[in-house]
């Protein structure tokens, strides 16, 4: 098991190891020119998205968890919908709507009779635009965690504050918000990890961040080692966020307040209710409804495309790849999760801990980390074969689907492992023990008891990885075999060529499939609410 997790950790180890390798002259060039931009832009992105997800997530959570207004039930699940929208897709869509030739500016010009240069309009393809796009689709992380935190706050604590003479706003800022701090920190750091991992949005908007830098160094300069070193610096940022997130989650326990009562929500009426509905609708419309409708409109302009073999082949590739990766992740997760249950010990816990770091590592980093050892292996085998047999083996691992699936497993195994482990944790140890005392050895226990009982968790794990793989852009972009396209890659390529309407079909397909885990999440949320 330890060996499995070492293999999974290999790409990250390679990246970290690259720090201790040689530094090529390209570094001086980087330092002189673009490195400063990478750092500054990445930091600005993090600050902006941090503030954005904080503002959107906390206000959405406060409204739906603690207030009562028309449509609250609807908004409490609908506000999760933007999760289905990958950042790079919302970025193309808004660009299509807001750039010079788009419907908004055209309408302005027609209405006021303006011409080019007569008026000022914010440039969407900028750092600020990227911050907005990322905030709009990443706030649900904060929303989800903070909402639960608000719901778990005992009403009595808030009432105590009010009976001690604090007004409602003062209670919010002095009691409710500080109590939710760990949840806020955890949610924001998850959103920031996604921000650092983002490649599609920043590259499309021409913002020089770490991920685009890694791409340019590898494709433009052909410097794999330097790209790996850049990736290692990116990992430093990620690692800090990872620590922050873990610590916040640990602190969450200490912030529980007494027994849980069903929260007595503050009834909003009059202009307050209108404001609440307006705010919630604005978030929902701009984060999901508007871009999704725009995609649908583009698709409907030429619906026949959906049946064309080119699109079907794309979809087939994507589904096949996602299904294989999801199945691999599930098998490994069962192996690791079950191993830890059977032989709980330091080694297993460490192994699973190492694996569960995967979700924090940006796809770009993993791709480079997979590329280096695989290329090395190919070269060694090739030169050995040339020397001994006089034949060339060419590329055995690099540029194959195998390499791509491996990278997906590294990145997403943690998702399925977490699901499987939490499912296993719900099966009490006495269930295992009673089956064993009834004469079943451990392996038939897995088949007869655990797998049937875990069916729900296993399906969830499959689905989550399937959808994540389908949406994943940078890993696929770097590691895909030559001329092998997926929905995400094709959408990105078409959009980069300014063929936004053509990109809409694969993009909409991704969004629709991305809805599946959101539905799952809202169903869980509903059953949690029913249980409380």
């Amino acid at each position: 098991m330890l060996a499995t997790s070492l293999v999974i950790a290999l790409p990250v180890l390679v990246i970290i190891g690259s720090l201790f390798g040689g530094y090529s002259p390209a570094w001086e060039h980087l330092i002189d020119t673009v490195l400063g931009d990478y750092v500054v832009n990445s930091v600005l992105l993090m600050l902006g998205v941090g503030a954005g997800t904080l503002l959107l997530g906390v206000s959405a959570a406060w409204l739906t968890a603690m207030c009562e207004f028309p449509g609250r039930r609807f908004f409490s699940w609908a506000l999760l919908l933007p999760m289905a929208m990958p950042a790079y897709i919302i970025a193309y869509t808004y660009t299509g709507m807001l750039d010079y030739a788009g419907p908004v500016q055209s309408l302005l010009r027609d209405t006021f009779g303006w011409g080019y240069g007569d008026y000022w309009f914010p440039e969407i393809r900028s750092l600020g635009g990227a911050v907005c796009m990322l905030s709009l689709v990443l706030y649900p992380y904060t929303y989800l965690l903070v909402r639960v935190a608000f719901q778990e706050q005992s009403t009595a604590v808030l009432e105590a504050s009010r009976s001690l003479g604090k007004t409602l706003p003062a209670t919010f800022f002095r009691v409710a918000l500080p109590l939710a701090r760990p949840a806020i920190a955890a949610g924001v750091s998850l959103a920031l990890m996604e921000t650092l991992a983002d490649y599609g949005t920043v590259s499309y908007f021409g913002v020089s961040a770490f991920t685009t830098g890694i791409f340019r160094t590898w494709y433009g300069l052909g410097e794999l080692q330097t790209a790996a070193q850049l990736a290692a610096f990116l990992m430093l940022f990620v690692f800090m966020l990872f620590i922050l997130e873990r610590q916040s989650r640990r602190r969450l326990r200490f912030y529980r307040t007494g027994t849980r009562q069903p929260p007595r929500r503050i009834a909003l009426c009059g202009w307050r209710a209108v404001t609440a509905v307006g705010l919630a609708s604005a978030i929902l419309v701009s984060g999901f409804l508007l871009p999704a409708s725009q995609l649908a409109i583009w698709v409907l302009q030429d619906p026949a495309r959906a049946a064309q073999p080119a699109f079907l082949a794309l979809a087939g590739n994507s589904f096949l790849l996602a299904a294989i990766a999801a199945a691999c992740c599930l098998l490994l997760a069962l192996f690791l999760g079950y191993g830890k249950r059977l032989f709980p010990g330091f080694a297993q816990t460490t192994a699973n801990g190492v694996v569960s770091m995967g979700y924090a590592v940006p796809g770009t980093v993993i791709a480079v980390g997979v590329l280096i050892p695989f290329a090395w292996f190919d070269n060694v085998v090739d030169s050995w074969l040339r020397e001994t047999l006089g034949v060339s083996s060419g590329l055995l691992l690099s540029g194959t689907l195998g390499a791509l699936v491996f990278a997906y497993v590294v990145r997403f195994l943690s998702v399925s492992l977490q699901t499987v482990e939490s499912g296993l944790a719900r099966i009490r140890p006495s269930i295992d023990e009673s089956a064993r005392s009834l004469g079943y050895p451990p392996l038939s226990l897995l088949r007869r008891i655990h797998i049937p009982m875990l069916r729900g968790s296993l399906l969830t794990a499959l689905l989550l990885v399937f959808v994540d793989v389908l949406k994943e852009l940078p890993t696929t972009l770097i590691l895909r075999p030559f001329n092998f396209n997926t929905l995400a890659v094709r959408a990105h390529e078409l959009a980069s060529d300014e063929r936004l309407a053509d990109a809409a079909l694969p993009a909409l397909a991704i969004v629709l499939i991305g809805l599946l885990p959101v539905i799952l999440l809202t169903r869980n949320m509903a059953s949690d609410n029913a249980a409380s």
Binding site: R428, S430, E433, S434, R436, S437, L438
Partner: protein
Amino acid sequence: MTQQLDVNRVSVRFGDFTAVDSASITLNKGEIGCLLGPSGCGKTTLLRAIAGFQTINEGQISVRGRVLSTPDMQVSPEQRRVGMVFQDFALFPHLNVSANVGFGLRHLQRRERESRVRRLLKMVSLDDYAGAWPHELSGGQQQRVALARALAPGPEILLLDEPFSSLDSELRTQLASEVRDLLKADGVTAILVTHDQHEAFAMADQVSLLHDGHIDQTDVPYNLYHRPANAFVAQFIGGGSLIDVTVNADGELNDRLGVLDMKSRSFAPGQQLRLLIRPDDIEYDESSAIQLRVVERAFRGANFLYELLLPDGQHVPCLAPSHIAADKGSLLPVRFNLQHVVIFNGEHQVFT
């Protein structure tokens, strides 16, 4: 009688902590034993060691002469032929009642298995629930399914880990004696773990009282109450107070409680002893000249439990009928009925 279970000087340690300290129990075929003790006394650890879920550091466990555990060797749980009923019942939620009961019978032919499941369900009066799902059953029914499931493979010994603790307190004692009748009718050898002495007394032939990993006394319930081996047993079973007394010049116990009938047994004058006073050892008597001050009182419905102050400052309990309502601080006339009193010299009982 053949010896069914032999636990011989078994110790279990977790690091520096000794959870079970050289514990020994033997049970004959058809006997029901009980491990009784407060939480953390090691009773569940010992039970899990017998079931094979816990390795042992010293001693030996054997069932019908077959060695199951030594410090160097462990027969795995599935090969022990030991049945277990868990505290939370641990029914398999994805299987219905008859599949749960038949789970341990996979070695049997289908027809044989079905008839055995039917017989067991009939035995626990759940024959109408064969197709029901665990979550559809009440706590008491789930408990009976767990019992039937554990008995199905015909285990050589049945282990019950706090089997009644998740049920209503009124049901417990009743269920305990029902389960006892069931096991007795089937000739099952069993060990029960509990912290509830009423459960223990209702079910077991012999009770082992555990305290800090040690078995303080193994005996029939009557003797645990009337002949406790030490002060801990005395206080855990039945409650009461231990008070210090000094032997008078005549070798009698006559310390503010009147002279005790020691049945010709005398003590050295001046010897310090301790008397166990059970609540029913001191009775209300309105004609009595002895009046003790009420320190505390608790209404129990059928009676009052008073805590009274002796002249030397020690406290004793007194059970009085429920219509005798004396206020805190007032005086209560009482009579001592100490003819079956338990006397300790240091930690150990002086048998009278």
